[in-house]
Symmetry: C2
């Protein structure tokens, strides 16, 4: 493997300039009005006709000569002869002479001779006459021909992003088709031998993973007003990659790849771009995102994004999306920032501008609190568990807790109304399904408690035996059965945890951040065996900790273990057998500062409504006394 | 015509409740990931597999046994045997024994035996060995299997609006298709005998106009996440309208009509809805919008909007859009309001809640100023010349100038950077075409001056002879030729204005809000005839004032006049002949409080760049000395 060091990192502004210089082009399309919503007008549009095209009655009433109504009042009405009626969309069949009136509808043509309309509310209809109870002036309740817009007047300028309102004006002017800027075609190519597509089966032993970036980047491209085409992920095979890029160059105004840019990866991409084009930027002084390629390949503008999903999307958002919006003529988003108080300090000494992905939650006063989830840019869950980024200048090494930061929102997805943290209990997860809207982050009881100290979450899901007197009363509590999940039919006839000690059985344990593992640890203490440590050591696999509440049970289902730690509900759902060991009480504990927050109040009601039936339906669950 | 009075107006909240009770339904679609962007997840999605599916190297470097690196430092490196290499997407071909290292790329499978990765930056590569210059702990730079998300964990909840980030997580989990809420089908029907469609030719004598509402409402429906189908506008013919509504009912989850709801119009719609369904709300105490029908027809939820485009769109936005968003599961827009200072007072004593459409402009300090354009809800140009609405409570009769108001933005179209008012000069209009972004409102010099007093516009386009010493220096000035536009070949041999006096010629004059008309008035004073009034009276058509700068010339082109007031440029563009009468100097005068506003500075540069060539290119234009 050849390695390329990033000795030539450029500042973000230089990367932006290089992108601005790329000749990404878009022409003009002429599209029907019905397809123009959200597009950008490519040329100015003038009025080809007067709107209205005639003197139009602005009210239901009577068309009159204003002079005839002079001095009329409620007490002394003027009586006029009704000589006709005009509905909207019909030619007047009468004209208005002295002393005449013609009944008109809103939108009707003003009959000749008339110069004003008396609103119907100010008249009394008689047999063939009408009593007018107010004087009107010439022009009253009439919109003269061309008063809305006159033929030849400028209507809309190029660059207007067409919304319903603009389409209305274009329709009023009779435009059936309108010139709009073409959407630049963007080829999106994920690279990496390890990638398989959703629908295929990845081989974990060979390090295969699903392709994420072509999906996120294509959707993000579409959101800028450009049009993404996803290419089959190119392997790191040189010939295949060259062909894919050549194909893409033939069709697209811009090629965006992701992956294969990291210093240690085969630097095939660099070589190809250098061989068939030009590299203008190798890397940018930003984290995440260092590996950013900007250049041209096969005479087509080219951008290479990093491979980590969060990095790829952040770098796209920061550098590429503004350029694509400019090409498409889309407005740069206006309201995409929010001020928030940082809950925990962020340190970074790397000397590069850092983009810190943060989640947001409203505190008890409705002010926003920003928190950084633990998993970082290597995790795809970070994509869904954050709301925006905080930029940390290269010369800043610390953002202190309590500092006000500006969060650049990823998009206009709403900030979840409720933030829960703690143990990922399956029943609570289902309960949140129809609670609009929530986010739940799995944290160990210790971490969850620290987050509450930092005043981040609205509620914590935690074993209630741990609760000290200082915390608020749980909104709800329930019991769940935990124990050993074994294969269907229990072939090894395991009946208790002690059967695993010094046995020939492979045990699948769970991560000690999970409450059920805490229950196991406490149970071990109570076993009348040797010390808990010795017992643990005597169980094969005790120290092989698996990450999710179902992970051990799934190991059993997959034949990788003979028994696993888990819940009865998981055993039932996976069609496995369950050996009960204990019952654990979980509670939903509100953050004391959020007791009055409306989503917490809604959750209290929601729990009261829905928890009882969920507990009844779910194997191994029961209300807590 | 039967008239229906709105005696049963309901408060807005009641109308909203009636809409909330309408059973507008949407099912579930299962769509490919590539089509799921912007849709709303219909069911919870759990992780079907561990991500990553293997213990993954998080860095480029060397997979090692952490214990082997104990005590290693720059000064005292530990040397390990390099026994293999693992790239991402390949199965390890070596395992790590004591004293071994395997070179790994980011994303590669951690070889068996290894429990940590030393980043490449902390190593020095030798022939067959590597010097490790730091101690690492077990788990360092490794993302264990399932650490991102473990099989069985909850990934995304129902109700999530899927953006690029969520699509990324779904792709990472291998979901090829996802369950999303169906988009409710909404039938959009404009009613009114007067309507013709863009592409057809309206007959102004019969009061025909283009259909606007089906275009605006369909686009607004689409923006809520529902799916609009436009029906051919129904005439007021009962049978046709009944059939259209019956067809729509068969296909749609909601029917939205506009028009034919005004009290004076034939109340066909009321009758049809009452006959084939039920009316729940007849009218709502709001202006504009009084005629709002809510009910059911042919067993399908039904809403009838008013006919005026601004009213129809306002009422749709206020009452119908939130309901459709709720059905589609779209978030209600979060950041759709802006605080602004009201520039001029708004009076309304109608006793109904009023929605005042306002435009917005940033003042010299960047604070927003709201202004109400003059044309009102009957004008389609109001659609494009405003940015949002101010709600005025029913019990409020006055919003004072200088009051802070909350403006509900129509959409996320940007507020124009520059607001110009005054004379609609064709060259200035073209100049604004490539100025991002501007709005220009035609106002008489007097009105423009009043707007400047109220500190609304950024610049005014006005004859510069009118300028008093109190105003700022113009950013630019130019001359334009005005005079008489006559048919090609000048068949009547008109050579001066005096030819029109007591002649047999029909003259087409322009509105006195236009600067060219001011020039004409001044010119009349200089003619050595009788008084200016007498001269005017002696010209046939002098008092027939037309609205737009090209209107009189277009009258001549259409044969409705023998001579018209206009500019040389207009005569040239319309292929007519021009009889010069005078030259007028126009200037772009900045509002003194906006001299430092960046868009005004940009305009100054833009004028310097572009005006000279435009003046050269345009017939009848020249730089002013």
């Amino acid at each position: 493997m050849t390695r390329r060091e990033f000795r030539d990192l450029v500042p973000p502004a230089t990367a932006r300039d290089a992108l601005a210089d790329l000749a990404i082009t878009a022409g003009t399309d002429t599209v029907p009005l019905a397809e123009a919503n959200g597009r950008t007008l490519a040329a100015h549009v003038d009025a080809p006709l007067d709107v209205p095209g005639f003197d139009r009655s602005a009210m239901d009433g009577y068309a009159v000569r204003a002079a005839d109504t002079f001095g009329a009042s409620e007490g002394d009405p003027t009586t006029l002869r009704v000589v006709g009626t005009v509905r909207a969309g019909t030619e007047p069949d009468a004209s208005v002479g002295e002393g005449d009136a013609v009944q008109v509808a809103t939108g009707a043509v003003l009959p000749s001779g008339a110069d004003a309309v008396v609103p119907v509310e100010r008249t009394v209809e008689r047999e063939d006459t009408v009593d007018v109870m107010t004087g009107v002036a010439p022009g009253d309740s009439v919109m003269p021909r061309g008063a809305d817009i006159a033929a030849g007047d400028a209507a809309l300028g190029p660059g207007t992003t067409l919304g319903p309102r603009h389409l209305g004006l274009l329709a009023a002017l009779g435009h059936e088709r309108v010139p709009v800027r073409s959407q630049p075609d963007v080829a999106v190519v994920s690279t990496g031998e390890e990638l398989v597509q959703p629908g295929e089966e990845p081989d974990p032993a060979a390090g295969q993973i699903y392709d994420v970036n072509s999906h996120t980047i294509a959707a993000a491209v579409d959101a800028t007003g450009a049009r993404a085409t996803r290419y089959t992920p190119a392997t790191d095979d040189e010939e295949t990659l060259r062909e894919t890029l050549a194909d893409a160059a033939a069709d697209a105004s811009l090629i965006v790849t992701s992956g294969s840019t990291s210093a240690g990866a085969a630097d095939l991409l660099y070589r190809l771009v250098e061989e068939h084009g030009e590299i203008l930027v190798h890397g940018v002084a930003i984290k995440p995102g260092r590996p950013l390629l900007v250049g041209r390949i096969f005479d087509t503008p080219y951008v290479g994004l990093p491979g980590y999903p969060v990095s790829a999307l952040s770098v796209f958002r920061t550098f590429v999306a503004p350029r694509l919006r400019a090409v498409s003529g889309r407005p740069q988003p206006e309201t995409a920032t929010a001020d928030a108080t940082l809950a925990t300090r962020v340190r970074y000494d790397g000397g590069r501008r850092r983009l810190v992905a943060v989640g947001l939650v409203a505190d008890g006063d409705g002010d926003l609190v920003a928190y950084a989830p633990a998993k970082g840019s290597g995790a795809t869950t970070t994509l869904a568990e954050t709301d925006g980024i905080v930029q940390m200048a290269a010369e800043t090494s610390l953002l202190a807790a309590g500092e006000t930061v500006t969060v650049e929102r990823f998009d206009d997805a709403p900030i979840p109304a409720l933030l829960g943290v703690g143990d990922p209990d399956p029943v609570f997860a289902r309960l949140l399904d129809d609670f609009a809207t929530s986010r739940f982050l799995s944290l160990s009881a210790t971490d969850a408690s620290r987050w509450v100290d930092d005043d981040v979450p609205d509620v914590t899901v935690t074993p209630t035996d741990d609760l000290t007197g200082t915390r608020a009363e749980p909104l709800a509590r329930w019991n769940r059965e935990w124990g050993l999940v074994v294969p269907a039919g229990n072939p090894d006839d395991i009946t208790a945890l002690s059967d695993l000690v010094d046995g020939d059985y492979r045990f699948a344990n769970l991560d000690d951040s999970l409450a059920v593992r805490t229950a196991l640890a406490e149970h071990l203490e109570t076993l009348a065996l040797d010390s808990a440590e010795d017992t643990a050591a005597a169980i094969d696999g005790f120290h092989r900790e698996l990450p999710g509440i179902e992970s051990a049970a799934r190991s059993v289902a997959a034949g990788r273990a003979d028994a696993g730690l888990g819940l009865r509900v998981t055993a039932t759902q996976l069609g496995l057998e369950f050996v009960p060991v204990g019952t654990q009480t979980l509670g939903v504990v509100p953050n004391p500062t959020r007791l009055d927050k409306s989503s917490v109040e809604r959750l209290r009601d929601h729990l009261a409504d829905r928890l009882p039936s969920l507990l009844t339906e779910t194997p191994g669950y029961a209300p807590a006394e």
